[in-house]
Subunit: 356 residues, 2 copies
């Protein structure tokens, strides 16, 4: 299993954590199918070991319902459509509700037109991009998901201030005999959470992780905390994050730059988050099984290459997460007790029984 | 101007270098319109200061015509098409000939369907991705161009061998009052050429540039030369380059991995290079001028941010190259004499007068 560092653990079955989160969401008058989408999304992130985007987010999502920042009942609508493109207004629905709506639409359009591109504005925190790209891969498509971040933590190259998010994106493609190959990456070298963690443990950080408030690389976690996350490939990652903002947010007229509303710090404010979903129907380009076979061959080719000393296996994007999801779906998801305690508190608040 | 390090320089007007290259290509029985596309592509790369992808490539392209690796006369064909997608067989034409064909098609499809995705196999070296993405931006679209590299120089993360290219891609979007914002990046921290240069000048390299043949970061240029280029964000860049290979090469059935044919080392062998072009018609999502105005605002927002000491201006992707192109189109393109000498030799060989 992956190497987590939980002090106290609680193990909950995938079905139970999903049901528990769904029940909480339904108390906010969220439609049951929408609640299931959000619950499945969060449980899947946890199952994949991506705890930063799982059940630990539910309390802030619910707080945003309480304070009016996000609507639990709103339904996305199509405001413009052509054969292979649509603009969706999330109408301030949950990001996952808008995400499901837009991804389903992208798949439907690509099935007819061969490829598609669906833009979303008026949304909220999208969760993990991999989930949406994989939904397209599961439909025998190549899937792309781009989104602007809900907080600015990166400086443009040459700058020093937090003017940009480390905007993440995902690309996914299916295989014949293995899990989807799916890359889900933010444009910073590491997540800001790792720098926060280093300030708590008072350990130095690699100089590739952060820039101090004067824009210089630093090994001091505290200096990195008050500075910005360092982009992958420096000016390349800074450029990539700006392009991601352009295609996911500026294109559909969603929030960018100083209009970006911090998910946590301003829970009563509407976010107007933007996303872009792109699908290519594999069958429009290639025999699907032939493509999936080429994917298997490509993965095998990489795995059969010479390994660096100490490396047991060369892994392709998404493989660690897919293995972890399979394991945790079978054996239950192991949570740090703090996350479960938060859900217990939330359950008490909304008046339902805790499922763990 | 940008800071080049040429020992001896020759300055040639944009029109002359383009005409000169066109004339050389026509002696290989290339159609005049195709020759103009290639010549414009190479002259534009030089004009932008991207000399690695300009006129210095013409000798190898012509050598590949001589040895049968690439066909100067072949015309790409559409082998499959839906409303928003097509598969193009380059039929071993020049990469720029296939690139022009596919980009025009992507624009035409997106104009009707709102977005499009065109896959290409059977192609050759594509040149600079920015050129194609900008062609879409000039048509008021958001343009994406992805391509597999023509040589393997990167290891998969955890590996040590040259199993992957540092596959480049470009994303471009237009502005109202400035040049297109266009990111064109390979997935390595720097081009391999910079490591080669450091071995010649016997200078150490930053440890972010290369991995030695055992897969470890190195500051020794020679060790980096015999090793692999280091991916941006390490495992992130390695994953991104694999995804690029999947969408540009494995999807349309082009060469990948051990089937990749080195552009220089095997000039008589067919390359079967693959590309992917994606277009989103801005007018399908937003009022075009409103989008371009938002682009201008976003660029201004970044430029108005606090600058790192010593930084004169915060630059957005493609800005250096756009300024340089404007300057060199007006004042002539400055070439290192070695590049011009190669063109002179080539002109003598094919029996035409040198234009400089």
């Amino acid at each position: 299993m992956a190497d987590y560092n939980f002090n106290d653990e609680v193990t909950i079955s995938f079905a139970d954590i999903k049901e528990w989160m769904k029940r909480i969401l339904v108390t906010y008058n969220m439609r049951e199918d929408d609640a299931l989408v959000v619950a499945d999304h969060l449980a899947t992130a946890d199952g994949r070991g991506v705890y930063s985007h799982g059940a630990m987010r539910l309390p802030i999502y619910c707080r945003r319902f309480d304070e009016g920042g996000t609507s639990p009942t709103a339904q996305p609508v199509i405001v413009g459509q052509k054969a292979a493109t649509a603009l969706v207004d999330g109408r301030n629905s949950m990001g996952m509700v808008a995400g499901k709506f837009a991804t389903d639409l992208a798949i439907r359009l690509a099935r007819n037109a061969g490829s598609s591109s669906v833009s979303v504005m008026g949304s909220n925190h999208l969760g993990t991009c991999a989930y949406w790209a994989e939904m397209m891969a599961d439909a025998d498509m190549v899937g792309f998901c781009w989104t602007i971040n809900c907080v600015n933590i990166m400086a443009p190259w040459g700058g020093m201030a937090r003017q940009l998010g480390n905007n993440p994106f995902a690309i996914a493609a299916p295989r014949l005999t293995g899990p989807n190959v799916v890359l889900d990456m933010a444009t910073s070298v590491v997540a800001r959470g790792k720098i926060v963690m280093a300030t708590k443990t008072k350990t130095p950080i690699p100089e590739t992780w952060a820039l101090d408030k004067d824009g210089n690389p630093t090994e001091d976690a505290e200096a990195g905390y008050w500075g910005t996350v360092r982009p992958v490939g420096d000016y390349k990652g800074s450029g990539l994050t700006f392009m991601n903002a352009i295609i996911s947010a500026i294109l559909p007229g969603a929030a960018f730059g100083s209009d970006v509303t911090d998910l946590y710090e301003r829970p009563g404010d509407v976010q107007n988050t933007g996303h872009l979903f792109q699908a290519i129907d594999i069958s429009a380009i290639s025999d699907v099984d032939a493509f999936k076979t080429r994917m298997d061959q490509a993965v095998r080719y990489l795995k059969e290459g010479p390994k660096k000393p100490g490396v047991k296996e060369i892994l392709v994007p998404g493989e660690i997460e897919a293995n972890e999801l399979q394991r945790q779906k079978a054996q239950g998801i192991t949570y740090p007790v703090e996350v479960v305690d938060e859900l217990r508190k939330l359950s008490e608040k909304v008046g339902i029984a805790a499922l763990a």
